[in-house]
Symmetry: D2
Subunit: 415 residues, 4 copies
């Protein structure tokens, strides 16, 4: 009865309405409900309380399919769940480094036309014989910032780091059974020293692993040098901010997908000649993005990344970096070549939201749930499928823009 961590012990107080009243009476607080009831009852109590306080009806939110007890690592102050419609696009034939064959891509979204658009692109890729895809770099990063006295001391810390990579590797890897520290890059701004640690985190997206390992390595830096840790993340990581360092050097998976499509297929399915599609890509994705001073040179990569992330239990806030994508299109002899290069796609097939029931099912559809063989192969495969899906989305939208203008041009000429 005194063990607040065991939901079984809370049977006696698990009436949501009563619990809600006790919170209203100030006996304990909203987030302390989990100490007085199992997570499901606590969630129900929160819904009662919010219904009373705000007049909202939370029936649908309360109708979730997962086991509340299993979401401890995913959310606090649980209310229930939001349900996002999930559709499917494909099949999408891919010749990748980690994936080979046809895949269906589950996409969760509330924006009409998105799934249809990607699906149309998949059809184009199928008619072209399939897309290629490759993960070219895989590195989860964390970059603490340290304070030093000045640039003289900064130089000595940088020197120490360069000469003690093995020491740092040992400290970092002592905290993880899977992760490997691959590189440490120092950056100096005045009396701030940033160390960007890069890890191979296998099938995990790896932020937690990287953070814990970097904490251990940072303690060594603090002990062995005059540097004092100011923040375990100094924004050179860069997590969930649209930063050029990710666009240039990558984060998570750097992955490219491409396809060469016969001109006849382009015309038949996208209703526009290759040259028209290339023109839209140049004026919109290259010149327009350049003029907008954008880090994204694509049509709708973020749409596909966001929908695939939601469906498969990835971190939705990391759509920010996923949008650092460049789409290229070129007219080749009787064909159209198109590619999407995603510099910083952070994905995992273990941990985070991947173990929740609906998300886990979506990963099963892709055939990439859980740890891969060899480790990392599943997350690589997921990255390649998302990249190929993004390519499908680009082709479809570029085609739609090109063909609608051609149609409008014909109309005008017809007058």
């Amino acid at each position: 009865m005194t063990d607040v961590d065991d939901p079984a012990d809370h049977g006696d107080v698990a009436d949501p309405t009563e619990l809600a009243e006790r919170v209203r009476d100030g006996e304990f607080r909203l987030h302390e409900l989990d100490d007085h009831a199992d997570r499901a009852s606590a969630a129900a109590a929160r819904r009662r309380l919010l219904e009373a306080e705000t007049g909202a009806d939370l029936d649908a939110v309360g109708g979730y399919a997962f086991d509340a007890a299993d979401t401890e690592g995913n959310v606090e102050n649980l209310l229930g769940a939001v349900q996002v419609p999930m559709g499917v696009a494909g099949p999408l034939p891919i010749d990748g480094g980690a994936v080979s064959g046809e895949r269906y891509l589950p996409l969760a979204t509330t924006e009409g036309a998105l799934v249809a658009s990607v699906n149309r692109g998949c059809g184009v890729i199928r008619a072209a014989g399939g897309a290629s895809a490759r993960v070219l770099k895989s590195r989860m990063t964390r970059a603490p910032v340290f304070r030093v006295a000045g640039v003289g001391e900064a130089e000595r810390v940088v020197e120490w780091v360069r000469n003690h990579r093995e020491t740092l590797r040992e400290a970092a890897e002592s905290t993880t059974s899977h992760g490997e520290l691959v590189d440490v890059t120092p950056y100096v701004v005045g009396d701030s020293v940033f160390l960007r640690f890069g890890y191979d985190t296998k099938d995990a997206m790896g932020m937690n692993m990287a953070t814990i390992a970097t904490q251990a390595a940072s303690e060594v830096v603090e002990r062995e040098t005059p540097a004092a840790l100011v923040a375990l993340s100094g924004n050179l990581c860069t997590d969930k901010k649209p930063a050029a360092i990710n666009a240039v050097e990558g984060r998570g998976r750097s992955v490219v997908a491409d396809v060469e499509i016969p001109a006849a297929v382009v015309e038949e399915r996208l209703h526009a000649p290759p040259a028209a599609i290339a023109e839209v890509n140049t004026r919109k994705n290259h010149l327009g993005s350049a003029k907008a001073s954008s880090l994204g040179f694509n049509a709708q990569a973020a749409n596909v990344v966001a929908a695939a992330f939601l469906a498969t239990g990835q971190d939705a806030a990391q759509v920010v970096e996923g949008a650092n994508a460049i789409t290229s299109v070129e007219v080749r002899k009787r064909a159209l070549y198109a590619s999407v290069s995603l510099a910083s796609l952070e994905v995992g097939t273990v941990g985070g939201g991947t173990t929740l029931p609906t998300q886990s099912e979506a990963l099963s559809v892709l055939g990439v749930g859980g740890g891969g063989d060899p480790p990392g192969a599943n997350a690589d495969a997921l990255a390649e499928v998302i990249a190929a899906g993004a390519l499908a989305g680009e082709l479809s939208l570029l085609g739609a823009l090109a063909s609608s203008n051609l149609a409008s041009a014909h109309e005008q000429l017809g007058r």
Copy 2:
């Protein structure tokens, strides 16, 4: 029986297993299922098919609470739903331009610690007497790109646009009962002319409204000038790409939230003195982000934006622009001032995913569901609450970073 839009007519073919077989037999395709059955049965058929093809089990995905028929505007090739755990933070007292009083903030996420972190920040803000928030600009944009012969012609088109704003306004507004065309800004790159149309879309996020209105206005431009439309979106909008034009000029709502916190509150609740928190903000959010060439100068704004977007039915891909945020912290006399400025937060309380049951309930918790009075007030309020929530997240994380290093410093000193 010939009316494929009426689900009632499809009773005879609505057996999912049979439908799935017919797709496998090539009788019709995955996306044509909706022509042969009601949406719910079609979704069930798709699940059967994918289960057969991939070995996945899609039970949880099939256990959705919304009416499949109601998701026609949200998704195609419906499979079911992904369920994302939803927690709640707050209450959060806000003195805003459109919101006043305490609000609970629903957050949907799979990343542990996020809701707890925002909740802690809400406690700090409560202890400080509440946050302020203001929407300072509201403008949904769409920027088509036109082809001209060269810069001479570009100059004439720009001139025409500057002299015919009223004509363009009439054409644009003829397509919408709510939207208002507020400005049109021309940009020229060689023989490409971009026109950035800015709309007041009231309580709608407004992308569709802006797109349709801009289509109408673009037809006028094509008719009256030598410019030829190449793409209805020329990426100067900029939608779902991390672009400086949004960070500078805004898109959707430009909203700022701030708070002044007594030093004693800071120390008691964040376990660090104001100066330590300011130092973390400077080295991480300013110097670190500067060195990373980032458009985001904050700690975790995207986390809060993403979780609030998911909970309330916003477009998850627009988290990309939502992350264009600047956090400022300064030590004042016996207090800490902190602010978050979100340049391009695209939100709506009508349309899109806002009408789905769980999302609609989350909006009700916030008291901002549906159209506002006056129009636009609800979306303004939502923007202000999200900004205040982002502020809570910043305070909490900056405090955690500062206090953990102080703790570690004490530990070291204690040795």
Copy 3:
């Protein structure tokens, strides 16, 4: 004798060697030399002093052609002059908004091959019948930053500014006989309010004019609102930093030059077919710059801008913004179209370095020295010529890259 401003009074102490000794004896300081001698003698004394202190020989530096007394507005602690070789490219036929006909472009540089490269590009443009050029926007900006209590106050200041543009215009224009305040755009970041004042400064580059006028307007803002001025420049101007706000909204002159070149001319003079040149432009200037997260999408615009700035007495530090250029190339029917769009070219034909003898002569070569008729026409013309010169540089370098690879390809095939 007590009038330190009259050089004539200093005859008795104007012996450089003696002056240098008095500085070494600590009687007065290096920069106080001008109080004890005419500027030429003071400069000579400084040279003696530095020669003695550093062992350097400053004969060449002392051999300047201008009148030292005339450089009071250009430099302090005068030593003499640096001599930068000046070459000439052209003639360059231009159909511009402010310039019409052929122009020779003086270029000062120490980098071999630059003048030859631009000259070759001029030949291509001549063979194509000339380039077009247009100044599409002209606005010198200055953006002070003010401190307010918080976002509530920020909103009121922004409101006041929007309602009192005429008041601000009067205050600003009271300080200048030529400048006109065209717009004021407010930006808010937490408790910082930035006001970007945009001026038409006619033939002056206009930074000083804009600064003085903004100072006057800022005093009104401080008097009429709770805002307190923190810095007369808050970096949203943005002067001499590579900022997206300039790339997007422009600063100084936004100018575009373009040309359509018959395919035969391209092949004969650039030794590569149009498609090869377009490919280099796409892979280098678009994809490469995109991957580098660059604000410059061109081959060598900064080379031409820097050399023309030096030759004509512009501010060399403003080459930074001048490099915000986008080059576009497209294959047209039997022709190559090429353009250069310079977003923020800050130029003037009066004031600054334009009145020095050699710089003034260079402006005369261009036919744009001094004030234009109407005012602004000369600076517009200068911007158009520089843009056309930049276009020449782009064509030449793209051609050289394309042809050298073709040559190397042929060589390989020949083996």
Copy 4:
């Protein structure tokens, strides 16, 4: 008489007026003058010609001090020289990695107040006991772009490059006696492969050396892999464009200068307390630059870089990258700490414009002319002095902004 390279042979045709007439008569072209006369006479002829064609008077331009024959590597179509006033700031005491002791900094500029401003900053640094400075990275880069068939081939090329660095090093270094290839970093965008070659170029700025060496290495890549060279520079270098890759990874010298100034010195010399100067830095250089989406977070670094570059014969177009600077200011106990971090300062003390008489004299003033001991030491020293000079400029301008607002505040209070 047939040896057109020997000026002595051209005595008979060296009359400028006659030469000019022959050009006007179409006998030969402007740039062919060097084939018919010595360079000085050819330059004189060009001046005659331009005077005749444009009405300009080119006497001052013709009054240059260098030997025309010595400028063959610096300029073509020589006219004469532009003379830019040179002043001096200092002395500036520096404790650097390559420089130690006091240095005078020659600055060439036409913008009044700049030298005075830097000089005032030098006084502050002197009173504080001197600045520190360190070159933390030194790497001249060149990044060719290659075409491959698609991402599969791209992966194989990247793999080859990673496994054959030694082969590439040998090829690259076979072209240079001084340069060393330090690293090669591959980047892939679709079917474009960029290889960023990084060299230690010792005392040379090194662009030419890097280009020639990279040409040789690229030929090996072409021979050994399926990659085809498209352009020897693919803009990931990035030369003379404001690119984040340089701000993040550096180019030329990455150098930091800093100083700690007693509060009393700050107040006495900058007329503002440390906190006021820190506030200006935060609101202007951090928040303002962040809002402007700038790559430069400083007050006037480009002014000092440009003036020092001009004085010492550096490439003026590279001021673009030199402006990628971050200034940090913090209030310490009874002191102000300030730093300037220049990510990509491309400087040399041999080659380019450094051998011209006036520029060479300026380098002598600094004591860094010619090759250093060890090689690279002179260019390092030059970078450190420029960084310290930039720091002086920052302190002076931040102080001026802070004090003038304080003065104005006092004035207002006095009313």
